[in-house]
Assembly symmetry: C2
Homo-oligomer: 333 residues x 2
């Protein structure tokens, strides 16, 4: 289905170019998203199944999609996530959409890439609460998965390396091109209205683009939360220092992507900003020392909503059934 | 997408008839499933979104699809389900697939139809733990839903009656035709092998069809669990007596459909049978007073696996985002 979406995107682009409504791409600090190129559709399909499979959790109830829900902007729209045994997570689940464009994964960047990230929640006692060994045992006992792994990797022996590789391959397809802002970037002057354009100008001129730039409108650096004014947080999360051990990295977090930000509420690493208006106001004051007026906040929010692109469209995966020898989930042990 | 699936089913049927490989339908106690006819695709689409929307729960984490997972045969493959705050449910979640064919809904039949059923889990403190009023308030605050309800029902005022009506309309499409057994029923003699046919003969001759009959291979009556021998259950569920108050209905449960039974493990109202082999053995002894041999169990299981039909194929729904005025989920209150 992803291939279809890609073809559609190309078809649209060709049509529009043929129609002559697009001029050259603009030179801006934000670049248009390119649709994902799928080079190994079988691996992507396997990764999609794994992404949706709750048997990768101890309970048999929590999948990657539980907290990175692709019906909801790749997030769970909760302040912090719900883990095994209804544990309250320590941090807001970042969207999986366009996550392949980030410099590193997790808010503190402790995983260098999507493959390294994918193994984390499976074995985290507060999230899926399983182990890599048990997850692999489950998959190895399911004939449908064994056949697919063999087809994709040339070997019927499943290991966590292949599991996370396939999940990452699926996640790499979760790019959201064709937002109104991207159309404007590509030369379609009618794609944004005057208010949205005013919002983008303000976003640039007042310094937001210093961190929120590039194709993902963020995701490329770690920055301190609370530069001009300190951020008063209830959350104990201290960010990047947990990875580097350097005191200067305390309260530094990965700058989140603003792509699809309309869908990925609530905001910040602790999810404490319920609305985009609150998030813009706090960012202006704490990071830029600027108190935006209500009208200015409205303009920036109008611009931010133009960053919602085509959401990944695919069929709900059908998971291969367990066999008699598949270890059963133990949600209540 | 459902319409597409239906068209495909018709196309396949026509091709095969034209090819002359099918003879007349057989006269058997089990009848072939007919693909669902979608008369109101907009309502089905709205119902699909609601089915997948966790904002119908207090936590914002549990949707209809959490326990009736359409990637897993319309069930959660757990003994009993996980509800709000990780509460252990009292009973095994029945599959939503082909549930429109059942005489009533829930194991004890306390809901006459899918529409009446759909409101139950939303307001059940052990399941989604919300109220109908709060669920409607959430939906009414979401512009995308308001527009869809207006388009489908001619009024922008949402109420629980419309919500459950739309969910039921989606669920009515979740029919799984074209199983190997259905193809055999329609005259394709090659659709079943000798072992599967022997299993079906034994299933008929030893009395299973007395209860497991009709297009859903069950779902049409309430029967006592433990007729010949009592069923020793740890579960406190007493079945139909909770609805009728009649002592004769104690331990009577709705006969489950056996359609897609390969996918809907574990079995029985308490989920205590982990495998089809166990389920067949227990049913034989307790309901029929017959101890099937290992070979007989294997034959019946082989037949049961021919009841897996085409699973519903549709795109993952994209849920309309909450607005600033949408009440936020409260998972940890």
């Amino acid at each position: 289905m992803k291939v279809k979406t890609t073809s559609l995107a190309i078809a649209l682009a060709l049509t529009t170019v043929a129609g002559g409504t697009w001029a050259a791409a603009k030179d801006e600090p934000i670049q248009a998203l390119q649709a994902a190129k799928v080079t190994n559709p079988a691996k992507v399909e396997l990764g999609k199944k794994l992404f949706f499979d709750p048997r990768l959790s101890k309970s048999g109830f929590i999948s990657c999609n539980s907290c990175h829900n692709l019906s909801m902007g790749g997030s769970d729209n909760l302040k912090t996530s719900i883990g095994h045994n209804w544990q309250q997570g320590p941090i807001n689940a970042p969207t999986v959409l366009n996550s392949s464009l980030a410099v590193a994964q997790f808010w503190d960047g402790r995983a260098p890439d999507l493959k390294a990230q994918a193994g984390g929640p499976i074995a985290n006692p507060g999230e899926m609460a399983f182990t890599h060994e048990l997850a692999v045992d489950v998959l190895q006992s399911i004939p449908g998965y064994v056949a697919e792994f063999k087809s994709v990797y040339g070997s019927a022996r499943i290991d966590i390396d292949k599991v996370t590789d396939a999940i990452a391959a699926f996640e790499e397809t979760l790019v959201t091109p064709n937002s109104p802002f991207d159309k404007w970037l590509m030369g379609d002057e009618k794609a944004l209205n005057a208010r949205e354009l005013a919002g983008y100008k303000l976003f640039k001129d007042s310094g937001c683009v210093a961190c929120h730039n590039g194709p993902a409108v963020g995701g490329t650096s770690f920055q301190k939360m609370g530069i001009v004014e300190p951020y008063k947080a209830k959350s104990p999360a201290e960010g990047r220092v947990a990875v580097t051990g350097k005191d200067e990295d305390r309260f530094k977090f990965k700058v989140p992507t603003l792509r699809n930000v309309e869908l990925t509420y609530p905001y910040f690493h602790d999810g404490e900003a319920a609305t985009l208006e609150q998030a813009v106001d706090v960012m202006g004051r704490l990071q830029l020392g600027r108190k935006y007026s209500g009208e200015e906040v409205g303009q920036i929010v109008a611009f931010l909503k133009t960053l919602t692109g085509d959401q990944p469209l695919f069929t709900v995966p059908l998971l291969p059934p367990s066999s008699n020898s598949t270890p059963r989930p133990t949600p209540f042990d």
